[in-house]
Point group: C2
Chain length 122, copies 2
């Protein structure tokens, strides 16, 4: 999808309120940029076939790994390597942009109740 105007991330974030429910805002080749609102503790999971990028737009979050954790605040990003188990956690609502290949499922190999519909545009 191409548009004639810039994609304003805060304006797009204002269009939905559900947590752990990524919304696509842009596509680049076979990759998607997705906005998501996080609050609480997600499920442990890994993406076997791809790295996954987190860019924090608003708030703070933690990426927990089995052996460490990484703190992220607005204006910070992190690349979760493929195959590495991780769990996003946010004490208060945190808004992020994810970058990953089209078709990447939010719960990766874990499945379960947090699995969101894929390819939903904001």
């Amino acid at each position: 999808m191409t548009t004639d105007s810039a994609i304003n991330l805060r304006n797009q974030l204002a269009k939905f309120s559900e947590h752990w429910s990524p919304r696509v805002v842009a596509e680049m080749n076979d990759y998607q940029f997705k906005l998501a609102k996080l609050r609480g503790e997600f499920v442990w999971h890994a993406h076997e076939d791809t790295d996954e990028v987190f860019i924090v737009v608003e708030g703070e979050m933690t990426l927990e790994f089995r052996d460490r954790s990484v703190q992220l605040a607005a204006g910070e990003m992190y690349v979760v390597p493929r195959g590495v188990e991780h769990r996003p956690v946010a004490a208060r609502e945190c808004c992020v942009m994810l970058v990953e290949p089209r078709g990447t499922v939010n719960t990766g190999d874990a499945g379960g109740a947090y699995t969101a519909p894929n390819d939903v545009w904001v």
Copy 2:
């Protein structure tokens, strides 16, 4: 390259001052995230093989196309479709993050004096 801490975009931007000289800050699969400082008018060019994402971190810029232009401010992004001629312009310094496949040259098919060394990390 993986790190144990978040990548702070403003901190990384403080590490260089050259305009039109993208610096890699992260890799995801075969894609790179690059920070760049823009000021003035770049050359018209296209990337025949890939879309290119602009995310504005600080300041304002314009993406000129042959038939229109798109204004971008901090917190906004745009996807330049593959093969489409464009020219980034910034009246004052503007800091952006680019997302594109590893190996993408900043001047695309145009070449010339603005062509920056590729794959230079910040």
